[in-house]
Symmetry: C2
Subunit: 357 residues, 2 copies
C-alpha cells in the first residue's frame, strides 16, 4: 500500500501534509513547521514553497490528527437547555463571539433540560478532548443526575479541559451566577413600593433551582413590605411560554378573585400569561399587572412593555467565555455573581395615586 509520490492515484483521498511536502520538495517536518504553529524558524524560501504548495493543492489540515498528536483541540462545548429559547441563544452568541477571538470553534448541545442528555454531552466533549465546556441553565433537584454531572465535569477537568457553569454554582467549577434571589427580592420590594398589594406567582417547576430561588426572593421582598404570599397564590407549571399561559388559566378558573399583580419567574412565561389574559378580555395593566424576569431582548417590543429584572445575558456569556478560555488552569475556582436590575415598565403601571386592593 506504499505509494510512490510519483504515481498519483485517482482515489479521492484528501491531500495531506506529505503531499504538500513532496510538492514543495521538503520534508514532512518542515512542512509541518511552516503550516503548523511555527515554533521554529524556517528558511524564507522554503516557507514560500510550502505555502504555495498548500494553496495549489487546497490543503486543509486534519484537525483531529493534530489533536491526537498534541492532545489539544480548539473545540469549546456549550450546553444549554434549549437553543431556541432566547435566554440561551443570547448567552450562546456571546460565548461564540468570545471563542472566535481565540480561534476556537463552538459546539452547542441541546439537552432539553434532560439530565441524561447533559451527561452524555459533557462525556462527548471529554471524548473530543474539548478545550472547555460551558454548562448553562438551571440545575434541578435530581440528586443522582447532579452528582453524575459533577463527576463527569471533574473528569473533564482532570483531562485538561476547563469547565464553566452559568447558573447555580457547582462544586469545584467556575461559575457565573445570576443573583436570582436578590433580583426577585428587589422586584418584590419595588412592586410593593409602587402600590401593589395582592400577588400571584407563576412559579415554574418546583424542582428547578432558578425557579425556586426567584420565588423565594420575591416572597422575601414582599414580606419586607409587610405582604404575605399565600401558598394558594403560587402556581407551578412549565418554565416556558405555555407554562405561563396555563398558570393564568388556572388562576382564572378559580372562584377566588384575581390577584392584582402576577409575577412570572421568567419573561417567556410572562408573555404566555399576557396572551392568556388578553384571551380572557382582561387589560394589562388595567385589570392585572404582569412582571417577568430576564429582560429578553426579543421580547422588549411586546405591549405593554414588561416590567422585569434585567440580567446582562450577553455579558454573562462573555464572562463564561472568558473564564473558559482566558484563565490559567491552576487558579482556584471562581464564583462571579451577576446582579439583576429591576426595570419597571408599563405592564405593572398603576393609575397615579391609586393603591390596588
Amino acid at each position: 500500500m506504499t505509494r510512490r509520490p510519483s504515481d498519483r492515484d485517482q482515489s479521492s483521498r484528501a491531500v495531506n501534509l506529505q503531499d504538500i511536502a513532496d510538492r514543495a520538495g521538503v520534508s514532512l517536518a518542515t512542512a509541518s513547521r511552516v503550516l503548523g504553529n511555527g515554533s521554529r524558524r524556517v528558511n524564507d524560501e522554503l516557507i514560500e514553497r510550502v505555502t504555495r504548495a498548500a494553496a495549489d493543492l487546497g490543503y486543509s489540515a486534519n484537525l483531529p490528527a493534530r489533536t491526537v498528536a498534541t492532545g489539544y483541540s480548539d473545540i469549546v462545548g456549550v450546553l444549554v437547555h434549549d437553543i431556541s429559547d432566547p435566554y440561551f441563544s443570547t448567552i450562546a452568541t456571546a460565548v461564540v463571539q468570545r471563542a472566535d477571538q481565540h480561534a476556537a470553534v463552538v459546539s452547542i448541545g441541546n439537552a432539553f433540560g434532560d439530565a441524561r442528555r447533559e451527561l452524555a454531552y459533557v462525556a462527548m466533549m471529554r471524548s473530543m478532548r474539548a478545550r472547555a465546556v460551558v454548562v448553562a441553565g438551571s440545575r434541578s433537584d435530581d440528586r443522582d443526575g447532579h452528582q453524575a454531572l459533577c463527576d463527569e465535569l471533574e473528569a473533564f477537568q482532570r483531562g485538561g479541559g476547563r469547565a464553566v457553569c452559568i447558573g447555580q454554582p457547582l462544586p469545584g467549577i467556575d461559575t457565573v451566577a445570576p443573583e436570582n434571589e436578590a433580583g426577585a427580592r428587589a422586584l418584590g420590594v419595588a412592586l410593593a413600593a409602587a402600590g401593589h398589594r395582592s400577588f400571584a406567582v407563576l412559579a415554574g417547576p418546583p424542582h428547578l433551582h432558578t425557579a425556586r430561588d426567584r420565588l423565594r426572593g420575591f416572597r422575601a421582598g414582599l414580606e419586607a413590605a409587610g405582604i404575605e404570599l399565600h401558598s394558594d397564590d403560587v402556581i407551578s407549571g412549565q418554565f416556558n411560554r405555555d407554562g405561563g399561559y396555563e398558570a393564568v388559566s388556572t388562576l382564572l378558573s378559580r372562584s377566588a378573585p384575581l390577584p392584582r399583580c402576577v409575577f412570572a419567574v421568567n419573561d417567556v412565561m410572562a408573555v404566555g400569561a399576557l396572551a392568556r389574559l388578553r384571551t380572557a378580555g382582561l387589560d394589562v395593566p388595567g385589570d392585572v399587572a404582569v412582571a417577568g424576569f430576564d429582560d429578553i431582548v426579543t421580547l422588549r417590543d411586546v405591549w405593554p412593555r414588561l416590567t422585569t429584572v434585567r440580567l446582562p445575558l450577553e455579558a454573562m456569556g462573555e464572562m463564561a467565555g472568558r473564564l473558559a478560555l482566558d484563565q490559567q488552569r491552576d487558579e482556584a475556582p471562581r464564583l462571579l455573581p451577576v446582579p439583576g436590575e429591576v426595570i419597571l415598565r408599563e405592564s405593572t403601571a398603576l393609575a397615579a395615586g391609586s393603591v390596588a386592593s
Copy 2:
C-alpha cells in the same frame, strides 16, 4: 484511584485503550473490538472483562484518534447568521434533534452574515472532517464570496462530507428552499383581496436574495390585483428589528401620506415597525396595517397578532438534517421547495366592509 504497580508514571495522562486492554488482560485489538463498532464477534467473557475495565477506569474513547483512524467523525456543522435570531435558532434546534438520533454532535457557527466568517467556518468543518454541514441563511450578492463558499463546500463534499443548504439553492448542493417569492406573492394577493390598496415595503438590504425575492413576489402579487408599488414605497434597511424600526421612521419623516399597509420582509422587522408606530401614537391596524414573514413562534404573542407567511422552520431544519445524515452520497443533488402559508391575523384587519384608500 487504584493504580496497578505496573502503571508506569504518575502523570495525569488520560486513560487510553491500552490501559483497558492491560487491565482486562486482552490485546489492544480485542479491547477495540469490544468498545468500538463491534464489527467482529468477541467471546462473551472477554466482552465482560473489557467492559468492566473500561467502567472501572472511567474510560472515554479518544474521538479525534478514532477519526484519524477511520477518516470519519460524528460532527455536524450548522452555519447560521445569528443563533440569537429565532429564525435560525428554531432551525438549528431541529437539526440538533435530528442529529441526536444519529449520535452526531452539532457544532453551530455564527457568521453574523459575514462571507469571510462563513468561509472560515466551512473550512474549519472540513478540517475537522465533519460528517456534514448545513448552511442556513440568505446568500448575498457578493460574487467572489459566493464563489469561494461554493468552492469550499465542493471541496468539503469531495472530502467525503455532505453539504446541505437552507435558502437560495447553491449549485451542486442539496437545498431546502423556502418559496419566498411565491409566499410573498400570495400575501400580496391576500392583502389586496382583503381590501388594502396602498402599500409600503420594508425591504431589508437590497443585496440579500431572500429580501429581494420577498419584495419581488409581493410586488407581483399586488400587480396581479392591479396595484402598482412605486419605488418610493420600498424602504431598504437592515434585516433585523432595528431595520424595521428605522424604516418606519423614514416613512414617518416624509411629507407623503402614510401607506395604509406596511409589509416587512420578515417578522422581526415587522415587530420593529410595530414598536415605531406605537411610539408615534399610531394604532395598528386602525391607522396602519402591518404584515411580516416567517411566523416566528416567539413572536406569536405580540399584539396585534401579526399577519405573516408561515414557514415551517422546524420542518425545514428537520429536512436539512435528514438530507445531511440519512441520504446516500451518490444520489443527485436535490432541491426541496418549502411553501409558505399566508396567515391573516389582527395586524392587517380592516373594519368590515371598508376599503382603505
